[in-house]
């Protein structure tokens, strides 16, 4: 497959759609609601880079820099970034993106409701799926509230350029990774206007307990939580009994909301009455946790999920969209020591416990 653009629902190969794109595609195919969107594939990136750096000289230059020479890294990376953002896209790639973007705004059979220039999120989707990707994830950009075909094309290029931000380059130089084989896909999805959003772990991030789901959330966009602008509400739900066993309402003093028509994200003070009000009802907490469990079961391993709760009418389960799901890495990396092994007789467990000094 060499398409420059794929519908999100058919994105299935991380080498093609990047980790995020493939994972969102897999979620969609598993029946989980994700915002509609498309992926600008690795082929789109490679076609664009063929115009930016036809012989690979610029990338070879970056690759030649010593990991310790931060000034040289900054110089080489900045050069490459400005070339990426300044070079016009090959028309075949631009057309594919423009056409996919145009289709995003069209509501089937409802011409009156269709939007010519819908607001979208433009998100980097790296192809590196090894364990380093985890620490990498935060280094690549996501742009919220982008509108208009020109804006989308511009932000796709910015995502690609973020592959060459100083931190990422330094990281790759330290590990002596090749630059030429590097590629990045970009996910473009309709913006959601969530009442609340946040993250969810299908095990306790604090204790690693696999019997609970931990949810953190705040009003509006989840970026407030990621950016550390709020102390989120946090909830612990037992997977087995469904009981909400932990409940802490945070001070959510700020709210992130996106400004329509490409206005990006606005940060404002949360209305006083909402600051210390929980952003989720018990039903919503349970619905989130059950979606989290479904995703965990689908992948067969605990997940780290970004979610949003739409401000619509209807059952909580129908208002939840997932923005990302990836394997939990912190506890997964720790060697689990068995808590106990069977003994010859059941009673020996008691003898063992009471026989040992505290």
């Amino acid at each position: 497959m060499t398409e420059f653009v794929l519908p999100l629902a058919s994105a299935d190969d991380p080498a093609d759609a990047g980790g995020k794109g493939a994972s969102l595609g897999e979620l969609a195919r598993a029946g989980v609601t994700v915002p509609p969107g498309f992926v600008v594939t690795v082929h789109g990136f490679l076609a664009a880079m063929a115009a930016v750096d036809p012989d690979g000289e610029l990338r070879a230059e970056v690759e030649a820099v010593a990991a310790t020479d931060l000034a040289a890294i900054a110089r080489a990376a900045a050069g490459l970034r400005s070339r990426i953002t300044a070079t016009p896209l090959p028309s075949s790639v631009a057309l594919a993106i423009e056409s996919a973007y145009g289709a995003l705004g069209a509501v089937p059979d409802e011409a009156a409701l269709s939007v010519a220039e819908p607001d979208v999120a433009v998100r980097s989707s790296a192809t590196m799926e090894d364990s380093a990707a985890a620490s990498f994830a935060g280094l690549q950009d996501t742009y919220l509230g982008v509108a208009g075909a020109a804006g989308v094309l511009d932000h796709v290029r910015r995502c690609w350029a973020s592959l060459y931000n100083d931190e990422s380059v330094t990281y790759r130089r330290r590990l002596d990774m090749p630059e030429r084989s590097l590629a990045m896909a970009v996910v473009v999805q309709l913006m959601v206007r969530p009442r609340a959003a946040g993250v969810m772990f299908t095990r306790s991030p604090v204790s690693g307990d696999r019997s609970v789901v931990a949810i953190e959330g705040t009003w509006g966009l989840g970026s407030a939580l990621v950016a550390g602008d709020v102390t989120p509400d946090s909830f612990i739900i037992s997977k087995i009994t469904g009981e909400i066993t932990g409940r802490r309402v945070g001070a959510k003093d700020r709210v992130h909301s996106f400004l329509p028509n490409g206005g990006g994200v606005a940060v404002s003070d949360t209305p006083a009455s909402l600051r210390e009000a929980p952003c989720l009802t018990d039903d919503e907490i349970r619905a989130l946790s059950s979606i989290g469990r479904r995703v965990e079961a689908h992948y067969g391993t605990p997940q780290d999920i970004e979610w949003a709760l739409l401000d619509d009418e209807g059952e909580p389960a129908d208002r939840i969209v997932l923005l990302q799901s990836r394997p939990e890495t912190v506890w997964a990396a720790r060697a689990a020591t068995p808590v106990a092994a069977p003994k010859a007789r059941a009673a020996d467990h008691v003898l063992a416990l009471f026989g040992k000094p505290k």
């Binding site: 997977k239 087995i240 008691v350």
Partner: protein, 598 residues
């Protein structure tokens, strides 16, 4: 408080107006100077009110039985016995830990085979245990209180028995105490091992699932077919029968048992059939105590039919409305298995799963004993014991030594022995006993002091914070953990903290009950706030919206029953009955274990 910790025992001063409280209790129950070095906690679970002089037997005897079991009989490696002290009428206890590793090792050698024998033969030993305890109950019932007839019965002469009835005053009274002591040795015979099994499983679950609540572990363990539900089940059946037979009109809100029973007598065959079933239910199920068997005024339903006849009209109304549901036992079993399997499936290795099965299996093996022993011991035997002592009281009252039968409970058992000696002498001499002048002023003063002592707020604990809490009962029964001690030390002025015993959050109007005899006061949808609950409180759980208690852990009665009824409950709050007043709107958070007055 000048030091970091609780007040020292030596810093507790006498409650003004009750300075003479020591006269009620034996010398060996008093705090000693060295006791300042140890951690003590107020056993408000068993002794929520100041103890009358005679009732101190319910600490004196149980603690010699419990300590014998852990320290000397099974030789628990890390714990000796529980010591108790009385101050201002309240019982404080401490568990003596074994801390020296060499000594623990030496004890473990003995403990292993002894405990192993009981666990391995648990069910057959429990069957034998029931036989022995039923034997003790029969023996206490059979004790005769000599009625001191004017002349000795002729049989004593013609069958040359040789011993006159005044001799049996002291012998038979001593026999009551001896049987009470034997009952307590049976009570603890298997109990500490039962708690040991709980502690092992709870610790495993806490390690494998650090966020699991004690209540959830309790739900995996709890048996469905336990005696504790039986008296209440019998009441439900009797309510249904009353409706079926068309005699339900006799049971009205506030009805007196005697009136209803007389009314049933007059209802011919239908009334007769109900009375027959009632008689069957009474023996043994109405031997359930209205308290938990640590005070003489905790009568059984059989001794005082107020509690069952308070509950019956409500159950009958529910039968008529078609809303009286039997306990959904099949559903409860299914739910219990679903939870246990859910956690089991999350364990990653087969080894862990096998260990989980062993530990859970052991808990379920011991659970019926741990729950049901209370019915045989604290309820059935103990209410018979107090009734027998009351019969001695009736004799002393008839002989003019005390004003009424229940006054006997204001004398220590050694004083009762003195009174009986006095009476034996007087009967033999043909003169009135001298106790008639001696005891009444003492009793009057003690009654007055108990009233004064009732208003004292005992600190939840005394002495330095302990290093370790090794006693299985201290954690599982009393719910005393490092966290609990911290919340005692730093009380939250707005929120009460306890054990999250049963999940859910509700708000509602509080009804503070000090005693099960007050359960008639509770209204549909109120939140019960009480010192501690026992099985005879069961009828109340169908009416209330949530339960809060001063004392109790995850496996205490209130916790287990609340989980089964699906009511939020917080137990072990320490002082909810003092901080909440009837009529207060409160919020009970059974998920977090907190209670707040709104």
């Amino acid at each position: 408080m000048e030091h970091d910790g609780f007040p020292l025992p030596s810093q507790i001063t006498d409650v003004p107006g009750a300075e003479n409280w020591r006269s009620m209790y034996q010398y060996f129950t008093r705090f000693q100077p060295d006791d300042d070095k140890r951690f003590w906690f107020y056993n408000s679970m068993h002794f929520p009110e100041p103890i009358p002089a005679f009732d101190s037997v319910t600490s004196e005897i149980p603690y010699q039985a419990i300590g014998a079991n852990t320290a000397r009989l099974f030789v628990f490696p890390t714990t000796l016995g529980i010591e108790h002290r009385i101050v201002n009428g309240r019982v404080y206890i401490t568990a003596n830990p074994v801390l020296d590793p060499a000594e623990i090792g030496r004890r473990a050698e003995v403990f292993g085979p002894r405990a192993g024998y009981y666990y391995e033969n648990w069910n057959s030993l429990y069957e034998g245990w029931k036989e022995r305890v039923r034997g003790l109950i029969a023996e206490i019932e059979a004790i005769e209180v000599p009625q001191l007839s004017e002349w000795e019965d002729a049989s004593v002469v013609f069958e040359s028995k040789g011993v006159a009835q005044n001799h049996y005053l002291q012998e038979n009274f001593a026999k009551c105490l001896a049987l009470y002591s034997k009952m307590w040795h049976h009570h603890t015979e298997m109990l500490m091992l039962g708690y040991g099994a709980y502690v092992v499983f709870f610790e495993f679950c806490n390690k494998a699932f650090p966020e699991i609540s004690d209540q959830t572990v309790g739900r995996m363990v709890a048996g469905i077919d336990v005696i504790m539900y039986r008296p209440d089940d019998e009441l439900r059946s009797l309510a249904k029968l009353a409706v079926d037979l068309g005699v339900d009109d006799l049971f009205t809100e506030g009805c007196a048992a005697d009136d209803v029973l007389a009314g049933l007598e007059a209802r011919g065959e239908a009334g007769g059939r109900w009375l027959d079933e009632f008689a069957k239910a009474r023996d043994p199920w109405f031997h359930v105590s209205t308290g938990d068997g640590f005070y003489h005024h905790h009568l059984s339903w059989n001794d005082d039919l107020t509690v069952p006849f308070t509950a019956l009209p409500g159950y009958i109304a529910a039968v008529r409305a078609g809303s009286l549901k039997a306990r959904p036992t099949a559903q409860l079993v299914e739910e219990r298995e679903r939870i246990a399997n859910g956690y089991r499936d999350l364990l990653t290795s087969d080894d862990e799963k096998a260990a989980f099965d062993q530990m859970l299996g052991l808990c379920r093996l011991v659970f019926p004993f741990v729950e049901d022993h209370k019915f045989y011991c604290e309820h059935w035997f103990t209410t018979r014991f107090f009734q027998k002592v009351r019969a001695f009281g009736a004799l002393l009252a008839r002989e003019g030594m005390i004003a009424e039968a229940d006054d006997i409970f204001h004398l220590h058992h050694t004083e009762v022995d003195q009174a009986l000696s006095d009476l034996a002498l007087a009967w033999a001499a043909g003169t009135p006993p001298l106790g008639g002048a001696h005891f009444p002023p003492i009793i009057a003063e003690r009654k007055r002091m108990l009233k004064v002592l009732r208003d004292w707020s005992p600190p939840p604990a005394l002495g330095p914070v302990p290093e370790g809490l090794n006693d299985p009962a201290v954690r599982m029964l009393w719910g005393v953990t490092a966290d609990r001690i911290q919340s005692w030390l730093h009380p939250d002025t707005e929120e009460m903290h306890g054990v999250a015993a049963s999940a859910g959050i509700v708000e509602g109007v509080a009804r503070v009950l000090q005693d099960v005899n007050e359960i008639g006061e509770i209204r549909e949808g109120e939140i019960l706030v009480c010192p501690v609950t026992a099985p005879s409180w069961a009828p109340v759980f169908g009416k209330i919206k949530a339960a809060v208690s001063d004392i109790g852990g995850a496996m205490s009665h209130a916790a287990i029953v609340a989980r089964e009824y699906g009511l939020p409950a917080v137990v072990g709050t320490g002082d909810a009955t003092k901080r909440i007043r009837t009529g207060d709107r409160i919020r009970v958070d059974g998920d977090r274990g907190t209670v707040r007055v709104l």
